[in-house]
């Protein structure tokens, strides 16, 4: 039993920390610290900084730009980024579609797609969920019908994150409706500029525009844009869902959030004393910190298995459930700490976020963030689905 990292690993962490300290743009940092969503340019700027350094896709094969880091190094890299409060690299290209492409794609597909994903030249989004297919993803209805060298795609996708910026979408489509749901699905890469695609924004209750509906009407997609075999798409999708689960617990980011919560509790006053000294509130912080410690050590145990070359199984549902519950609790306590000044709503927050906030700066995004984070127990396989996975696949019930 040993929870320490090797001297080499620690030296690596120092290198990452130094790089971030030197290269993390101040304007992006300020926005991140205020809890305000980044715009496209800012997101891509940070992506570009990491790409230039060669650190944007650590998990990829080396020939395409991967770093060949050990699981320990990957963990420490994520941790250093989270500690510094950097934005996460958007997962849709780097850690979702790219692994599918380099694992199952053709050479042409790899040549065409991996370099622009690496460099952040093309923005990807994920076309999985549909209005009638959420938790039950395999019931999806979007159809692709073969017509010569093309498929004609019809249907609609929803909850498509940041589709408003996307150049490409990877889609699950039905290519055979006469077989079991999972056996008639194919995985297509679709250029968003193709005629017949429209994107409709979905505004969420926090006022943000993060997700969209994507309508596909007689969209012509070359068969060459299909990943792997026809009707094998579910296999690739499942691979994608289990790939790159490291970081799913979000321990380091929650630690950062916890530190911020403490700062807020020190700045807020209750009966003339800092809220941080209030016994009721400090107990709540302590309880959350203890939950987070438990998650941290569970996460480290998963990491330890990875370092031995073992892949985490359905147990990793713990990381999703506990990770999101902690993130939600964190925003709930932050909202509570902020108190009165959680109420003001700043319209068009992304452009005007720092225009004279009434009340303290840290109060600005507290309520929208709390509302927004309710999504985490719904997305990525709802927490009910995750508990089903544990019950069935782990406990054999």
């Amino acid at each position: 039993m040993d929870t320490s990292f090797s001297p080499d690993e620690l030296a690596f962490r120092d290198e990452v920390r130094a790089f971030i300290a030197e290269n993390y743009p101040e304007d992006i940092k300020a926005k991140m610290e205020a809890g305000v969503e980044l715009n496209k340019e800012e997101t891509l700027r940070w992506h570009g900084i990491l790409a230039k350094k060669g650190w944007v896709a650590p998990g990829w094969p080396e020939e395409w730009g991967g770093t060949d880091w050990t699981p320990g190094q990957k963990f420490l890299f994520d941790q250093a980024c989270a500690e510094a409060g950097t934005p996460g690299v958007l997962p849709f290209g780097i850690s979702m579609v790219a692994p599918v492409i380099y694992t199952f794609g053709s050479d042409e597909q790899k040549q065409q797609h991996l370099p622009p994903i690496y460099n952040g030249d093309l923005w990807w989004c994920q076309g999985y969920s549909e209005p009638g297919s959420g938790s039950d993803l395999a019931s999806l209805k979007t159809k692709a019908v073969r017509d010569g060298d093309d498929y004609i795609v019809n249907g609609s996708k929803t909850w498509t994150t940041l589709a408003q910026h996307a150049d490409w979408i990877f889609c699950l489509v039905k290519t055979d409706t006469n077989v079991k749901a999972q056996e008639g699905i194919s995985f297509l890469l679709i250029d968003m500029k193709t005629p017949g695609i429209t994107v409709r924004p979905i505004i969420t209750m926090d006022g943000g525009h993060e997700v969209n509906e994507v309508f596909l009407e007689d969209v012509r997609v070359p068969v060459a844009n299909r990943i792997g075999e026809e009707n094998k798409g579910w296999t690739y999708a499942k691979f994608l869902l289990t790939h790159e689960r490291t970081g799913i617990a979000g321990v380091a980011r929650s630690k950062k959030g916890l530190a911020r919560l403490k700062e807020i509790a020190k700045a807020e006053y209750i009966d003339g004393r800092p809220l941080f000294e209030d016994q009721d509130f400090s107990r709540k912080i302590a309880e959350l910190e203890i939950d987070l410690t438990a998650l941290e050590y569970t996460d480290l145990r998963v990491l330890s298995e990875l370092r031995k070359g073992n892949h985490p199984g359905p147990e990793s549902s713990i990381l999703k459930i506990k990770g999101t519950e902690i993130q939600q609790r964190l925003t709930e306590l932050t909202l509570e700490a902020v108190g009165t000044y959680a109420a003001p709503f700043y319209r068009g927050l992304d452009d005007r976020w720092n225009e004279f906030p009434v009340g303290p700066d840290y109060a600005v995004g507290s309520a929208p963030k709390y509302f927004n984070m309710r999504k985490t127990s719904i997305y990525g396989g709802s927490n009910e689905i995750q508990r089903n996975i544990i019950a069935k696949a782990v406990l054999g019930l």
């Binding site: 009721d280 509570e336 709503f345 009434v358 309520a367 927004n372 997305y379």
Partner: protein, 377 residues
């Protein structure tokens, strides 16, 4: 022992229900709250015409002489419609202070309020005061026969609509002393008053209110000089009863909507309402709403009792609705899935309102402490 409503109360409920149905179709509300004004003044005129604004005031003041139960009925229905008209700040808070404060100023202002001509807002919270109603840095200093007010009031709900502001000030004593608190009525357009208006996350309008050497005559004191805190506490407890009723209305809508949705949303070949884990969660929502209704009745019936009994009842109710509001709101969003996250479905809006109600007039922690303290007094 009888919890049923009189015919008159049922009639009142039907009137408010009809008002909500006519004016608060969800899309109408969404458009209304997005306007510069943030409300439709015609709604206010209609509430005045229907006599809703006059309900709690005495007949001498042009009111209907109704009591706490009627206010509860009105607030519950307003809660079901997520109504943004300033009934709560103007009638419950401002009107409450004037009713209990009495005197010439009440005789002068209440008839205007009951007709909807004057709209009130109560500026009580301060940037550093959190939920302590006596934690006041705003001062009013005697100057001949007048008082001069200086200070900054935080997140004053309804301030942008208000023609008159009620403001809690310190006229003597230290920052958190119980004695030395005085409430004044100030014209919203008086020299030295400035209001910075903004929308709130739950679709209301509020403002930061700044008082800079604002001169008001001693006649504008509401209640007694230096003895304003008991008055404020009484009105705060009534406000909590009203908010409890509003929250109960909102919880009812969310629970019903969630149950209905779970019967129609099909995943894995069956309505999601067939899944036991969701059934239990909805059973909990149902119980949370019922328990909140019970506590709303309880506090409403105890508002006329002594300060300790009344205070404990209000704190108990606020703890219940704070906890239940969070549970019902979060569950409604979760069971609606992605749809529950959207601005275009009403669910998120009720969730946001319930969230903000918890922070109005003290959250769960504040009222647990207050209850414990009062029970030992």
């Amino acid at each position: 022992m009888d919890f049923s409503f009189t015919e008159e109360q049922t009639l009142l409920r039907n009137t408010v229900e009809r008002f909500v149905l006519d004016n608060y179709e969800f899309e109408t509300r969404r458009q209304m709250t997005a306007t510069e004004e943030g409300r439709n003044p015609a709604n206010w005129a209609q509430l005045a015409e229907l006599g809703i604004l006059a309900a709690p005031f005495s007949e001498d003041h042009g009111g209907l002489g109704y009591g706490a139960t009627e206010t509860m009925v009105v607030m519950e229905e307003l809660g079901k419609g997520l109504v943004v008209d300033p009934y709560f700040p103007s009638i419950v808070l401002g009107g409450g202070l004037l009713r209990h404060g009495g005197g010439a100023i009440a005789d002068e202002v209440i008839p205007q309020v009951a007709m909807g001509e004057d709209i009130l807002a109560f500026a009580y919270a301060e940037p550093k005061g959190r939920f302590n109603l006596a934690d006041l840095e705003t001062t009013a200093k005697a100057d001949g026969g007048d008082y001069v007010i200086n200070g900054h009031k935080a997140v004053v709900i309804g301030a942008p609509f208000a023609t008159k502001l009620l403001v809690s000030t310190r006229t003597s004593g230290g920052v958190r002393d119980a004695d030395g608190v005085t409430v004044f009525v100030v014209d919203a357009k008086a020299d030295g008053v400035s209001i910075r208006s903004y929308p709130t996350v739950d679709g209301l309008r509020a403002g930061e209110v700044y008082f800079e050497n604002v001169k008001v005559p001693a006649n504008n004191i509401v209640g007694e000089l230096d003895n304003g805190l008991p008055l404020i506490e009484q009105v705060a407890d009534e406000a909590i009863a009203a908010l409890s009723a509003e929250a109960t209305g909102a919880m009812k809508v969310l629970t019903d909507a969630t149950v209905e949705y779970s019967k129609t949303r099909v995943q894995f070949g069956q309505a999601i309402g067939k899944f036991q884990v969701l059934q239990h969660r909805m059973a909990d929502m149902f119980m949370a709403h019922e328990q909140s209704t019970s506590m709303t009745y309880m506090v409403t019936m105890k508002l006329d009792e002594d300060a300790k009994t009344r205070g404990m009842a209000a704190s108990a109710a606020k703890v219940q609705i704070g906890k239940a509001g969070r549970e019902v709101g979060q569950s409604a969003v979760q069971i609606h899935g992605g749809m529950g996250m959207t601005d275009e479905l009403n669910v998120g809006h009720y969730f946001k309102r319930l969230t903000m109600i918890d922070a109005q007039f003290g959250n769960v922690d504040y009222h647990l402490k207050r209850y414990a303290t009062l029970s030992k007094s």
